[in-house]
């Protein structure tokens, strides 16, 4: 197995949508954005949806450059995020879906 080469081919890659359940919407938004920026992920879209009692959801569209598993692991580790999953395949619009289990 070779070492993955990190070249910026993201714009040609398919896109993926991540769905995050959040505890603190602003905190989650700032941390998720910082995480994407720190790891040079290409952000394609982001929407933040309110939920009951301080809970909320973030829908994050990113280019799928083969690092999604790692990105999810990193997002799940954020204390502001209480659930993270791959939402659905390429091309999907950022519309509300059923909430993620915390």
């Amino acid at each position: 197995m070779t070492t993955p080469i990190r070249e910026n081919t993201a714009s040609e890659s398919p896109r993926a949508e991540l769905e995050l359940a959040t505890r603190d919407a602003l905190g989650a938004l700032r941390h998720v954005a910082a995480c994407l920026a720190r790891r040079s992920h290409e952000l394609l879209g982001l929407s933040c949806l309110p939920g009951p009692a301080g809970q909320g959801r973030l829908l994050v569209a990113v280019a799928d450059d083969g690092r999604l598993e790692r990105l999810l692991a990193e997002l799940r580790a954020l204390p502001e995020v209480c659930g993270a999953q791959l939402s659905r395949a390429a091309g999907a619009a950022l519309v509300p879906a059923a909430p993620v289990a915390a």
Binding site: T3, G27, R30, A73, C82, G83
Partner: protein, 564 residues
């Protein structure tokens, strides 16, 4: 139910978490907090710069393995703390950093000494939180301590507006901390299928190497068992020093930019790399594409986001090193690998590794060897950054994890002195060596005052070469010998400097019996500084040039440019 204030609640939580000492500097925005802590058994250590406070707390945390606490006031206070926070993140050191903030009504108005602590610390802390109400503090403090030590440890920043510190509320109980949802916070052991797959690869491999970093800290015994079963050598990173004691038959030394040649060569030849609590940092791997090129990789790490970051793993195992190895070991068949043993022996002969001047206590390596021998295997050493650090990593015999404190991930000059003070605070019963350079000592020199005040047995071994040695070495080797901005034209009299703080100091340069002089310094009670003159053109070898593969390390004693 008791009536209390935010500040008192925080002070109580420090006591509750066994915090014996905190380091910090007061200011307008954290006066209530200092006042509250002063009324508890927790000792307040007044640092002379917040970066010093951060590294003092780090020193305590690196030695004890427990979260420790530093404090800074709003604005400039917390700005000064940032480097120590980033340093703790890079080396996975558990810290709770308590920042004062302007009162809530002033937040967002560009008030006097207001900075966005939350925003500033997002990329450099493991977790950060702004306390909006005193009543939230029981949960915030429980979570801060839990998050700092759980999973992969790291720094947590709690930003507390002044009026939240003084706000009264009814305290009922300490809530159970709510942690992140990821396995990094609540790691189990990897699944049986992954463990079985890893074991099958291990059974089949012919040339295995165990590559261990700071995350293997508690797993020395398990590492030794696995190495025995596999008949494999163990190499460590800078952060993994002390995992196995010197002379351990399985220990093959430190790898990386200034690692042992035979250890670096072993990696090129291995067909199976078991990485334990190591993150394939570029200083350890050299050119990543040529690091263990033919090897399958089993990567054990408590932080699953490390898997596949710098190197794809055939088997990523997410979990605590001790428990994961404990589950893996029973599945691994013991097998001697005589062909690999023979290759290792021949690599050892082909790449011998002797540090120059080990028997001369006036030489940089010799003084380290002498000090380590005089202080004994229990001693803690804190290093600064530069040639002094790399020489210490090469020469200091490290007998256990938590005894070699160094800024590995961030490489922060100025780390050594305050970290040594922290280590001595954690255990004042035995001397702590501080190996530092003339550049790095000046970066937190103000902490000599803190040290003098505390009277702790920190023994500063100052490698005085009049230059930013490691920078000069790179300029000699890779910048055509043009020494730009790396030579100190003005050189302080360090002995007089230490004396001016009330610290005993000696210059080893004129000493006839340097070893005896050193022994006297190390044996005397309280702090001391010993100056060791070092040749500015003495390079640290071996050295892997930046961007080169580890096996392409430079070994020659002097480079042409060094004389120009």
């Amino acid at each position: 139910m008791t009536r209390t204030t935010g500040a008192r609640l925080i002070a109580d939580s420090l006591v509750r978490h066994g915090i014996k000492a905190v380091a910090g500097i007061p200011g307008g925005a954290n006066l209530p907090l200092f006042d509250a802590i002063s009324q508890t058994p927790t000792r307040i250590v007044l640092a002379r710069h917040e970066q010093g406070a951060g590294f003092i707390a780090q020193g305590m945390a690196r030695v004890t393995g427990q979260a420790q606490v530093c404090l800074a006031t709003s604005g400039p206070g917390v700005m000064n703390l940032l480097t120590a926070i980033a340093d703790a993140k890079a080396d996975s050191v558990p810290l709770v950093c308590l920042a004062g903030q302007v009162p809530r009504a002033l937040m967002g108005t560009d008030a006097f000494q207001e900075v966005d602590v939350y925003g500033l610390t997002i990329p450099i802390a493991k977790h950060n939180v702004l306390a909006r109400r005193a009543a939230d503090l029981p949960r915030i403090m429980e979570e801060a301590f839990a998050i700092a030590v759980s999973g992969r440890p790291g720094p947590v920043v709690v930003d507390v507006p002044r009026d939240v510190q003084t706000e009264e509320f009814d305290f009922t109980s300490w809530p159970a901390p709510r942690l992140g949802s990821g396995p990094a916070e609540s790691p189990g052991t990897p699944g049986p299928a992954d463990l079985a797959f890893a074991a099958s690869l291990l059974a089949r491999c012919e040339r295995p190497v165990l590559y261990c970093g700071g995350g293997a800290r508690g797993a020395g015994a398990e590492i030794a068992v696995l190495a025995e079963l596999l008949d494999a050598p163990v190499v460590t990173t800078l952060m993994g020093l002390g995992l196995l004691p010197p002379g351990h038959p399985r220990l093959a030394g430190m790898i990386g930019m200034h690692g042992a040649p035979a250890a670096n060569h072993l990696l090129t030849r291995c067909d199976m790399l078991v990485a334990v609590g190591a993150r394939f940092d570029d200083r350890a791997t050299g050119d990543a594409k040529r690091f263990c090129p033919g090897a399958s990789v089993i990567h054990i790490d408590i932080d699953p986001s490390e898997h596949g970051k710098n190197r794809a793993a055939h088997v990523p195992l997410a979990g605590d090193a001790v428990r994961t190895l404990g589950a893996l070991i029973p599945l691994v068949p013991a097998r001697a690998r005589p062909a690999w043993t023979a290759i290792r022996a021949s690599l050892g002969l082909a790449h011998p590794y002797a540090l120059p001047g080990l028997d001369d206590p006036k030489s940089p390596y010799g003084v380290l060897a002498a000090a380590a021998e005089i202080l004994g295997p229990e001693a803690v050493v804190a290093t600064d950054v530069g040639q002094n650090q790399m020489r210490a990593a090469q020469a200091w015999p490290c007998h256990a994890p938590g005894k070699f404190l160094t800024s590995g991930g961030l490489g922060t000059m100025g780390f050594g002195l305050p970290a040594a003070i922290g280590a001595a605070l954690a255990d004042p019963s035995q001397p702590v060596a501080c190996v530092t350079g003339d550049g790095g000592l000046l970066m937190n020199v103000q902490e000599l005052a803190t040290l003098a005040e505390l009277g702790l047995p920190v023994k500063i071994l100052l490698m005085d070469n009049g230059v930013l040695g490691l920078v000069r070495q790179q300029q000699a080797l890779f910048v055509g010998g043009r020494y730009t901005a790396s030579t100190f034209a003005a050189r302080p009299d360090f002995v007089a400097l230490a004396a001016s703080f009330g610290i005993a100091a000696i210059d080893l340069e004129p000493c006839r019996d340097a070893r005896a002089a050193l022994a006297a310094v190390l044996a005397a009670p309280g702090p001391a500084l010993a100056r060791i003159p070092v040749d500015p053109d003495a390079h640290v070898y071996p050295m892997v040039p930046p961007g080169a593969a580890n096996h392409e390390m430079i070994l020659e004693k002097r480079h042409d440019h060094a004389h120009s």
